[in-house]
Symmetry: C2
Subunit: 269 residues, 2 copies
């Protein structure tokens, strides 16, 4: 249980101070932070609260959007924003910055992927100098157009390998990759590149491309099987429970966290 990390999106109704205090109270040693929640209190105050409560940061979410557009279609300078996010990660004391690399520009999928590889090349030395690892997170193919032209662990790994392991790794999120026919082999190949492991279940039927997640449970995802894969590959770091779910988000944070802990204990640990 000491590997459990609350990804704070799961308790979206909680502010950062509430989430950090909530973890401390519940005995959860790790939390994954989101930049918008950090911004609400400021980086220094966030760092002070973490220190005060003795809660460690498994990752900061997120940098990326290197293909020039955000999901709502507005232009973005992903490289510049990610540089800020790297600085922020360092100040928050986490060594992982999760990257959502960006969707397809026009219908040029190959060109968009190249832009991602180029941006990672530009940022890797900057991140390494600050003790932060860029965590390339492949997202589910249903988010390819808007959010991530990286859809598989193999793709993320191919880009990561152009750089030192301490500068660029891959984040394995079950929701995004469980369906992949090569997932076990890909994770085995990832070895010391694995920078994070995120768990949750998929709702069936899957009616929403973003919010179709649930706490680990009786869904189609074999949590213990995938956890065994990342462990066999050598990963022994924190395991984030990260759930996008409107119903869960409407409930009190403490209640949700209690269920995070019990579902993790029952289906993952």
């Amino acid at each position: 249980m000491n590997r459990l990390s609350l990804n704070q999106i799961t308790t979206k109704s909680w502010s950062l101070p509430e989430a950090v205090a909530g973890c401390a109270e519940a005995g959860v040693e790790w939390i994954a932070l989101w930049r918008d929640k950090v911004a609400e209190v400021g980086v220094d105050e966030a760092a002070r609260l973490l220190d005060h409560h003795g809660v460690k940061v498994s990752s900061l979410c997120r940098g990326g959007f290197f293909t020039g557009v955000t999901p709502d279609g507005s232009p973005v300078d992903g490289v510049s924003e990610t540089r800020e996010a790297i600085d922020e990660a360092a100040r928050l004391g986490t060594d992982v910055l999760v990257l959502v690399v960006g969707g397809v520009a026009g219908n040029d999928l190959a060109g968009s992927r190249q832009r991602v590889a180029d941006a990672v090349g530009e940022l890797a030395p900057y991140a390494r100098d600050r003790g932060v690892r860029l965590g390339l997170e492949p997202l589910h193919p249903m988010q390819c157009a808007e959010r991530s032209v990286l859809s598989t662990v193999d793709q993320a790994l191919a880009i990561a390998r152009e750089h030192p392991p301490e500068a660029v790794g891959v984040v394995v999120d079950e929701f995004h990759v469980w369906w992949d026919p090569h997932i076990e082999a890909s994770i085995a190949r990832a070895r010391d590149r694995i920078a994070g492991f995120h768990v949750c279940d998929q709702l069936v039927p899957l009616t929403d491309t973003l919010m179709g997640r649930a706490l680990p449970g009786d869904g189609p995802i074999d949590h213990r099987g995938l956890k065994a894969c990342v462990e066999a590959a050598g990963y022994s770091g924190p395991i984030e429970v990260e759930v996008f779910n409107t119903e869960l988000w409407a409930r009190p944070g403490a209640e949700v966290l209690a269920e995070v802990i019990s579902s993790y204990a029952e289906h993952v640990a």
Copy 2:
């Protein structure tokens, strides 16, 4: 333009007689039929109408569901139902029966895939004896849990290759596979196994996992690029325009077919 086929789901408001007559009137030589629409008039009457109007059938949709459950969770004997569908395809004069293989039973993804391979092995000789080819259609990973444990062309190809090419092939549907980092190489490897090519676009943002399709146009899918791939692999058969889209389904069939023709001409042909 003589390769264009109307997949009749695209003009869902039309009955089979309306769709067949509509194709004839618009000069569309091919149609892909759905079993529920065929059942409304009966197989013999459907065959008579096709013959009368001189419209050819590119494929019949669908057999499959070999993992024991339908998307709504009810039990199904996929092998037995697919045998009926093979007979129906033969009577309708098409040599392709599209297979939607079925989703994950429990959380046993590997076992579910094996059930699919076993079922195809059982049905392949039956299909070949009747001059019908089983068309394994990989579906988008977002449909893995409920509809198809085959998510990539490579997976479908691995099963197809256990059987003679005239008995089992693969159906390439852009919507399902455009995001695949190996799609060009997979199509090249598929060669004479390609039993069909389906085109449409993806809505951005993709808000619905089933209905998030559009007529070929300014979406993220590179239609001419993928068409060039299937042609380079040797496929010169009909090209189905297959669109699940609630708004399109609410409109008169003739109006929709006119747009099918113009979008195909502009973005695919």
